[in-house]
Symmetry: C2
Subunit: 149 residues, 2 copies
Amino acid sequence: MSCKIHPESYDEVIERNWPEGVKKTKQRVDIFKILYSSHEPISAAEIYSRLNQEHSSEMYAFSTIYRNLIAFEKSGIVEKTVLSTEETAMYELKSGKHKHYVVCLKCHRKMPLPTCPLNEISREIEQSIPGFEITGHNLEVYGYCSDCR
Amino acid sequence: MSCKIHPESYDEVIERNWPEGVKKTKQRVDIFKILYSSHEPISAAEIYSRLNQEHSSEMYAFSTIYRNLIAFEKSGIVEKTVLSTEETAMYELKSGKHKHYVVCLKCHRKMPLPTCPLNEISREIEQSIPGFEITGHNLEVYGYCSDCR
DNA sequence: TTGGTTGCAAAATGTTTGCATGACC
DNA sequence: GGTCATGCAAACATTTTGCAACCAA
């Protein structure tokens, strides 16, 4: 959490990245902030607990979180992923650049891969399955991180 | 379903592939047969409906199916995967060779990739994340098949 | 003001578990 | 015969939905 940005600068970050046609409500802004300050994909439950921890007086319903994650996803600023090692979906702000993670099976830490290995090979794949048009992919790499081996 | 094997030959197939230490019950054999005759990963619900369709008089409980899929997975003959486009887990017999699928987003058909693109690059990945030991990975490729474009 | 958003409760979905009965070796 | 597997129902976890009250534009 050491590289969390100073609260004052949130406003401009939000100004710059807020999706068109999405009404700006307190709940949505707060969910956005949580996503923005997270360094890896997080679950709806994690967002819920962080919200209700920081704003202990107010309530944030699960339904609100899910509905807004879906709204963010539709408007293109959030990406949902389902890792096969977890039972819940994970959400993150789209960084512009496409990302994959290496996941530690013990501590569940996720580290981004520096490059996407699929870029080079997707043409080969398309050629090997006649008529198929690739629109996306999902890659997870599992193992044990240096601390957990 | 045209290349379903002749019922008589199931016995030897089962004889050859049955995992050690797993008691052979009617239900387990029937689940195995469904998995064996399927050409792509299928869900527990799909197994349930095929079982109760073929054997309309008998009941096969969901709990039995799940418990046995877990038993098969632990004994090493079944692989469970969770695709991010589906909300349910999918199961298939391990074919010995490691497989990935190309999934059509419209008809949900799954076609196996001829090769695993990760073989060549996993060493590069390990080098780029110091101390990380890769033990496995998961790759799904999405798009539209020739019929659905 | 008004239509979109929220919180709550309840439903839907997929999966797991407890327990008494029943089947395999 | 003893142990493990089964079916049933109920529990569970995650996500979705209906609805009345509320808030932002």
